[in-house]
Symmetry: C2
Subunit: 462 residues, 2 copies
C-alpha cells in the first residue's frame, strides 16, 4: 500500500499548475483585462475590471482553462443599463461569444484556448449592500486571497482534483456538488487537504462551520459553511446529501488505502445497446423511458425541472402500482467531456419491478357502521349500477369493491394526461407534451446517445 | 314494495314450527331422554338428563332437526370418569353414533332423522362454580326459558332465519357468526325482531349490552353482550367484525325495502372450471393456491388453523412483493348443505396482482455517516466480494445495493421452506409439508370440489 504523502506528492506534481502554465494564463488574463478596459472607455459610464475565481487566486487544477472577469459598475447604476453596458463590453471583448444567463445576462466566449466569462456586476461597499448575487464574487475573492498562502493554495488544488475525480465537484444544479469557493473555505478552515479528509471521515451531518463566527440564522442543510462575507448564506446550500456522503466515502477510502485513483475522473465510456440489453437480461426488470426534446435553456434551469419531473413520474408510477426500482433523469449531453454542451434530448428513465397490474383494483369504502357514507358508497356500486364491479362486499368492518383499474400497463399511464400533469417545470412541460414512451428492450435505442448516464445507471458506484 | 309486517308474517308462516312438528320433536326427545335415563341406571353413579338448546325452548327454525341432551353428573365427579361415563351413555343411546370433541368428548348420532348430541356435564349450583364451559349451557337454558314468551320465541325464530339467510348464523369458528344464545338474548334485550333490526341499523361498534347490569370486566370486541349467567363472559366474543357489519347491512336493507330474500339462505351452486377461467380472464390476476389434505380434526380446530396459515402466507407473499389482491381459506366441504361434513382437502387461495419480480432487489444500507456500520456494509458488498451485486452506490445519504432477490416468482416462494414456516397450526403444519402449489389457470382444477367457496370468492356480496 502506498504511503499517503507519496501519493499526494505525485498527484500534486500532476494537478498543481507549473510556472509556465501560470505565466501563460497571467499574460492572457492581462491582455483580456486591457481589452475590457478599452471597451469600457467607449461607454458613457465608468467601470473597472477585476479578475476573480480560481485562476485569479492560483487555485485552479492544471489544465483548467477558465478566466472569469467581472466588470464592476457603480452601485447606483440601474439593472437595465448594467445589463446593456455589460453585454456591450462582453461582445466587444469576445466577438465570437454568446450570451448566457446567471443573475444577469453575460457573455461567454473563448480567447486563445481559454473559456472566458465576462460578467457585469455592481461595485458595492460591503457584502451587505449586494444588489445581486454575482456582486458577492469579488468579496469571496478578496477574502480568500488574503488568507491562502502558497501551501494552502496547493492543497486547494488537491482538494478540487479529488472532488472532480469522485464526481462531486461543481455547484451547478446538475451536479449539486462542492463549489470552488466551498472547497477553498473548507481547506482554509481545516488547515489543508489531509486535515479536511481526516475530519470528513467522521462527520455526522448536519455538520456546521462558521469561519467568522457570525451566523445570523440556522440552516437545514447536511453541510453548512456560513459565508464569511455574508452571515445569512450557507455556501454549501446546493450540495446534495449524496455528494456529501460520496466525499465522506472516498475520504475514508483514501486514508485507509492511499491511491491516485480517486483523483482521476472516471470518464465513463458510453454504454452501447448490447450492454443495455444484457443488463436488462441479468436484472429482469422492465425499463421505461419518457424521452423528449430538451428545452433550450441552461443546465441550471434544465436540471431542476428534470429532477422535479422525474420525482413526479416516479411518484405517479408507484402510486399506480408500477413499482420503481431505480430512476434517473438523463440527457444526451452528460459525461465529463460534454458538460454544458447543450442537451438535444432528455429522458426520464425508470426501471420497474412491476409493469402490469390486473384489470381490477381494490377500493375500500367506509365502515358499514358509518351509516350515511356507507349507504351512499353501497348504492353507488350496487349491482344494478355497475355490473362490472366485484362487490360491494364486506371485509372486516368495511365495504370493499374491486372496480376497473385506471391504468393496467405502465405504457398506458406514461402516455396518459395524468402523467403529463405531474409537477413539471414550465419549459419541460411544453416538450413533454410531445414525448416518446419506450418500454422494455426498446430503451436500448437510447444508447449510445445516452450511453454515459446509462453506464452510470448500470454500473453504479459510490 | 311490500309492507314489512306482511313480509314478516309470510316468513313467520314458513319458519315457525307448526304444532305437528313440535309434537313430533317432543315425542322423539322424550323417548331419547327415557333411553338415556335407562343407560344412566347401568352406571355406578347417578346423573340426570336435561334437554337444552332451541328445540328445548321452542325457538328452532322449522326443519332444523337438532336435539341436544345433557347428562348432568355430580359436580365432584372427576373429569376422567365423567368422560368415561358420558361416552358409555352416549354409545348406549346412539349405537351408530361417533365421538366428537368440544370441552369433553361426547357422542353425536342420528335418531329418527334427528341429529342428536349427547353431552356429559357437571351439575353445578351456580354458573360461578363451572368446571367446564359446557356446564354453563343448562344455566343459559333456564335463563331464557323463564323470560321468552310465545311471541318473543317466534321473533327469535325470525331472527335466526334472518341470520341464517344472510350467512351470519353460527358460532362455529368457520362462520364466526351469531350463536343461538346470542340471538335469543338480543331479541329479548331489544324486545323483538323488528326492534332489534331497527337498533342494529345505527349501531356504532363497539356496542355493548349488559342485560343483568353486572359486567365485571371490559371487552375488546365489536359487539359485547355480557352473559346474564356469567359477568366475565361476552356472549358475542366469537362474532367477527364482518358478520356484525353484514347484519347491519341487511338490517338496513330489510327496513328500507322489505323482502323475504334475506331470509332465504343463498345456497350457491358450485362454480365450475370454466366459470373460474372466465373470471380470471376478466380480472387478469394471477391466482395461486396451496392445496393440501385437510387434517382430520373438527371444524372448530381446523378453521382457526387455516385462517392463521392464510394470514401467514398472505403476509409472506406481500413481504416478498407478490401483492395479494384478495385471499381466502377454502375447503371442499363448504356450503350450507355440507357444513360439518368433514373436509378432505383444504386450500389457501390468493389472487395476486404481481406474480413475478426482477432478479435483483433493492437493499438499503446505513447512512454513510454512521461510520462503523457503513464501513461494514460497504465491505460486505464491495465489488471483489460480490460481483453479482449492483453497487454499493450512494442514494441520498445511504449506501444501497441491488442484490440477488430471494424469490422471483410466487411459485418459488410457495414451494420454499420459508412458506412452510409461516405461523401454521400443529395439525395443518404436517399436511402443509405435502402441499401442491397451483399457479395461474391451473387453479381452475379446484372446481367443482371447491366450487362453493370459489363462487363466494368470485361473486362476492355483503
Amino acid at each position: 500500500m502506498d504511503d499517503l504523502e507519496a501519493v499526494l506528492s505525485r498527484v500534486r506534481d500532476r494537478v498543481v499548475p507549473e510556472p509556465a502554465e501560470r505565466d501563460h494564463l497571467r499574460t492572457v488574463a492581462a491582455e483580456l483585462a486591457e481589452r475590457t478596459r478599452a471597451a469600457i472607455a467607449d461607454l458613457p459610464v465608468d467601470a473597472d475590471v477585476v479578475q476573480v475565481g480560481s485562476t485569479a487566486r492560483g487555485t485552479w487544477v492544471s489544465g483548467d482553462r477558465d478566466i472569469d472577469l467581472f466588470v464592476r459598475f457603480d452601485a447606483d447604476l440601474d439593472r437595465e443599463q448594467l445589463e446593456e453596458y455589460g453585454l456591450a463590453v462582453g461582445h466587444a471583448v469576445l466577438p465570437d461569444g454568446h450570451e448566457e444567463y446567471a443573475e444577469h445576462p453575460y457573455v461567454k466566449g473563448t480567447h486563445e484556448g481559454f473559456d472566458v466569462d465576462l460578467v457585469p456586476c455592481h461595485d458595492v461597499e460591503t457584502a451587505g449592500d449586494l444588489v445581486s448575487a454575482v456582486d458577492r464574487t469579488p468579496f469571496h475573492d478578496a477574502y480568500l486571497s488574503a488568507r491562502l498562502d502558497d501551501d494552502l493554495a496547493d492543497d486547494v488544488v488537491l482538494a478540487k482534483a479529488f472532488l472532480k475525480g469522485i464526481g462531486a465537484y461543481g455547484s451547478d444544479l446538475r451536479t449539486e456538488g462542492f463549489s470552488g469557493y466551498l472547497t477553498e473555505l473548507l481547506v482554509l478552515e481545516l488547515g489543508g487537504f489531509v486535515p479536511l479528509v481526516e475530519s470528513a471521515r467522521s462527520w455526522h451531518p448536519p455538520v456546521e462551520f462558521d469561519p467568522e463566527g457570525h451566523a445570523e440564522r440556522t440552516f437545514d442543510d447536511p453541510l453548512v459553511v456560513v459565508d464569511p462575507t455574508d452571515p445569512t448564506r450557507n455556501v454549501a446550500a446546493v450540495l446534495s446529501a449524496a455528494n456529501l456522503a460520496r466525499f465522506q466515502h472516498y475520504a475514508r477510502e483514501l486514508l485507509a488505502a492511499p491511491s491516485e485513483d480517486p483523483f482521476e475522473p472516471a470518464d465513463p465510456a458510453p454504454l452501447d445497446a448490447g450492454d443495455v440489453r444484457s443488463h436488462l437480461d441479468r436484472r429482469n426488470t422492465t425499463p421505461a423511458a419518457v424521452v423528449f426534446d430538451a428545452p433550450d435553456v441552461v443546465d441550471d434551469q434544465l436540471w431542476p425541472q428534470l429532477r422535479r419531473s422525474l420525482d413526479g413520474i416516479v411518484r405517479g408510477l408507484n402510486k399506480r402500482g408500477f413499482d420503481v426500482l431505480r430512476a434517473r433523469a438523463m440527457t444526451d449531453a452528460e459525461g465529463p467531456d460534454r458538460e454544458g454542451g447543450g442537451a438535444k434530448r432528455a429522458a426520464l428513465y425508470a426501471e420497474l419491478e412491476v409493469a402490469e397490474r390486473p384489470a381490477v383494483a381494490r377500493h375500500e369504502g367506509p365502515p358499514v357502521a358509518v351509516r350515511k357514507h356507507a349507504a351512499s358508497f353501497y348504492e353507488s356500486y350496487a349491482d344494478d349500477v355497475d355490473p362490472e364491479t366485484y362487490g360491494p362486499f364486506i371485509d372486516g368492518d368495511r365495504y370493499v369493491v374491486e372496480r376497473e383499474r385506471e391504468f393496467t400497463t405502465v405504457r398506458e399511464y406514461l402516455e396518459s394526461d395524468a402523467a403529463g400533469d405531474v409537477a413539471l417545470g414550465a419549459q419541460v412541460e411544453r416538450e413533454f407534451a410531445e414525448r416518446d414512451v419506450l418500454v422494455g428492450d426498446a430503451v436500448a435505442t437510447l444508447a449510445p446517445a445516452f450511453g454515459v448516464p446509462l453506464r452510470e445507471f448500470y454500473e453504479p458506484h459510490p
